[in-house]
């Protein structure tokens, strides 16, 4: 991918959180490396799927990208501009170009505002409309595009179903015509029958507006469906990154393999006959990660080297990166 086509770039991004202290007198601050030295790029019009177990740092990466969480080290570049330390007014202006779609369609809409107020708010705070009324035409167009009924504008969010609310959330994110959208598990809270509606909408919008997505999910089936490339995260570390097809068909990391085999397939004969790799144990605590490769405690193939030294993320095949000594 050429530099010009790159919209978002992360270079060695590490995010840490202070989580309490250790010792009787608490002299040792405990740090949680939620994201550890993660690098990747996203091209214009591309969807990068970000997959990992709960607590692996997916949302944290999204938040770091949106400059919601301070980065301990590394740089974030957006549209050729280093935004790692942008704050205040410039950050506010930057918001026009990058938006977020939330996981929870119930909690992410202020219940005290009508849909029109909600969707027009970005326009108003950026001076692109002077009032709710002034923004009406734009709002109506957005709502229609997102498949909401015409009378939706004057209703409150709680009068909508989950899928409809998620559409409101998407309309709101689109109001500023951003180039980049972080979609943090946008369909996890939705029912299967509704999930497809939203996924389709996101895909259609991407095509129409040449949007770039960071699509965060833990449902590999959906990710496969929507992503051009996929990044797999394990305990704050990027373990594999590559084109969707490669990830599924030419897996380079044992964790990805296990993950794929854990996803049940709704086809009884097939599912019964599949060989599943059931991992033992639990995801390690990121406050106190194991030495060496973080996956070694559960990896069925772990060797001595894995326990001593963390494998670097290497390009194992063109465009296909993995962090494993064994591939």
């Amino acid at each position: 991918m050429s530099e010009a086509d790159t919209l978002v770039r992360l270079d060695g991004v590490t995010v840490t959180f202070d989580v309490g202290r250790d010792g009787f007198w608490g002299r040792h601050p405990k740090q949680l490396r939620a994201v550890d030295d993660v690098s990747f790029t996203i091209g214009r019009g591309e969807t990068l799927g970000l997959v990992g177990e709960s607590g692996s740092g997916k949302s944290t990466i999204g938040r770091a990208l949106l400059r919601r969480t301070p980065v301990a080290s590394g740089t974030i570049t957006f549209d050729g501009q280093d935004i790692t330390h942008v704050r205040g007014e410039p950050l506010r202006r930057l918001r026009r170009h990058m938006q977020l779609v939330f996981q929870d369609p119930y909690a992410s809409l202020n219940p005290r505002m009508t849909v029109a107020e909600l969707v027009s708010e970005p326009l108003r705070v950026h001076g692109m409309a002077d009032s709710v009324e002034g923004a009406r035409p734009v709002v109506s167009a957005l709502l229609e595009r997102c498949g909401l009924p015409a009378d939706a504008a004057d209703r409150y969010p709680h009068a909508f179903s989950g899928g409809q609310r998620q559409r409101v959330g998407i309309a709101r994110a689109l109001a500023l015509e951003p180039a980049f959208i972080v979609a943090d598990e946008p369909v996890s809270a939705l029912d299967v029958s509704i999930r497809a509606q939203v996924v389709n909408l996101l895909q259609d919008l991407q095509r129409e507006r040449n949007l770039t997505y960071l699509f965060i999910a833990h449902d590999l089936s959906v990710v496969r469906h929507i992503s051009h490339r996929i990044a797999i995260l394990y305990c704050g570390k990027l373990v594999e990154l590559g084109p969707t097809a490669d990830i599924y068909d030419r897996t380079k990391h044992p964790y990805t393999t296990a993950l794929l085999s854990s996803v049940p397939i709704p086809d009884p004969p097939l599912q019964r006959s599949r060989t599943r790799i059931v991992l033992a144990g639990e995801v390690p605590n990121p406050v106190d990660p194991p030495p060496g490769c973080r996956f070694q405690t559960r990896c069925p193939m772990a060797e001595a080297r894995c326990r001593e030294q963390a494998p670097p993320l290497e390009e194992k095949a063109p465009g296909h990166w993995a962090a494993c000594w064994l591939s």
Binding site: R68, Y106, A107, N110, R112, H158, G169, R172
Partner: protein
């Protein structure tokens, strides 16, 4: 659901305010059609007889306090050397002193009315002053977060640990007891709860996805605080204010009772209980009972009102109440299979 009807627009808004809690409580299950026709908080109040009574009592008291100069048969401090201990009307007294007079010839009704004035005035002003101060403090601490928050709330912890009543007594003894000094001292003593509550709500609200959404959309911090966070405060603040109002009234009365609060020519129920207790513990105890009972009723009403508010403004509580009623009311007796 529709909000077309203009009258129901505001009701819908009130409903909307609480919708989020409901849903959170139900682990994100849609709670779609909360019809405005099922009534908002006020519908609930009408159902809640105690809450309604409390509200009526408070309204009557407030009116009586405001209108005291016109309602009172005489100046509460007008001495009546020749009309001491007149009985109330129903014991052969006259209408010029409906509740009779005390040993000083003071008109009992007038003193009660003016006492209400003092109590309600101090209660209201202290809640307003302490509430405003506390809310601003809490907003600042909560929204700034970090070190500022730790220091500011550290101070709140410290001041909360002060023996407030004792220090209030001391201060009043030193500066003298008047409506002004009592109000000021109680306000200085009473803002911390508001600060704590506000900060708590702000911290919680800051974590709400919709607040984050507002920030991501590019709202200024000001707008985030005032448009998105502050409305969350309305319900808990309203409830707390009424509770604090009750507590302040009690505190004023206690101080005045101890002789370290309102003093002549001020009129206060607490002071009158003390006066009457000094004077009539063995004789006409009704002089002790009148102001005491009125004080209790006022505080009780405020407490009832706040507990009603808690229920009425909290959809979950409302739901619980409804369920109890419905089951008792035999709603369950519907045909089954």
């Amino acid at each position: 659901m529709s909000y077309q009807h203009p009258d129901q627009y505001s009701a819908g808004r009130a409903e909307a305010e609480h919708a989020e809690e409901t849903e959170e409580a139900r682990s994100g299950r849609p709670f779609e059609i909360e019809a405005a026709t099922h009534g908002g908080p006020f519908r609930e109040l009408v159902r809640d007889k105690l809450g309604m009574t409390a509200l009526v009592v408070l309204v009557v008291l407030v009116l009586a306090a405001i209108l005291a100069p016109w309602l009172a048969p005489s100046d509460p401090n007008k001495i009546g050397p020749r009309i001491r201990m007149r009985p109330p009307v129903w014991h052969g007294g006259t209408w010029s002193h409906p509740l009779g007079t005390d040993w000083q010839g003071y008109d009992v009704l007038s003193r009660l009315l003016y006492g209400a004035r003092t109590s309600l005035f101090i209660g209201t002003v202290v809640v307003l002053v302490a509430g405003t101060a506390g809310v601003l403090y809490g907003l600042y601490a909560g929204y700034r977060g970090g070190r500022a928050d730790r220091w500011l709330m550290g101070w709140v912890d410290v001041q909360v640990s002060f023996p407030g009543l004792l220090l209030a007594m001391l201060l009043i003894a030193l500066v003298g007891g008047s409506v002004l000094s009592v109000t000021a001292i109680l306000a200085v003593n009473g803002w911390m709860v508001f600060a704590r509550l506000t900060r708590g709500v702000v911290l919680a609200a800051k974590e709400r996805p919709y607040v984050e959404a507002a920030e991501i959309v590019g709202c200024t911090p000001r707008r985030v605080v005032f448009t998105h966070i502050l409305p969350n405060l309305i319900t808990p603040l309203a409830t707390l204010s009424v509770l604090e109002f009750a507590r302040i009234i009690l505190a004023e009365a206690a101080l005045s009772y101890l002789g370290l609060g309102i003093q002549y020519p001020g009129v206060s129920w607490g002071l009158d209980v003390a006066r009457a207790q000094d004077h009539e513990l063995f004789g006409n105890q009704w002089l002790i009972l009148y102001p005491g009972i009125l004080l209790s009723i006022t505080v009780l009403s405020a407490n009832l009102l706040s507990s009603w508010m808690r229920v009425a403004l909290d959809p979950q509580e409302r739901e619980k109440r409804f369920a109890g009623r419905a089951i008792r009311g035999g709603a369950a007796a519907e045909p089954g299979t």
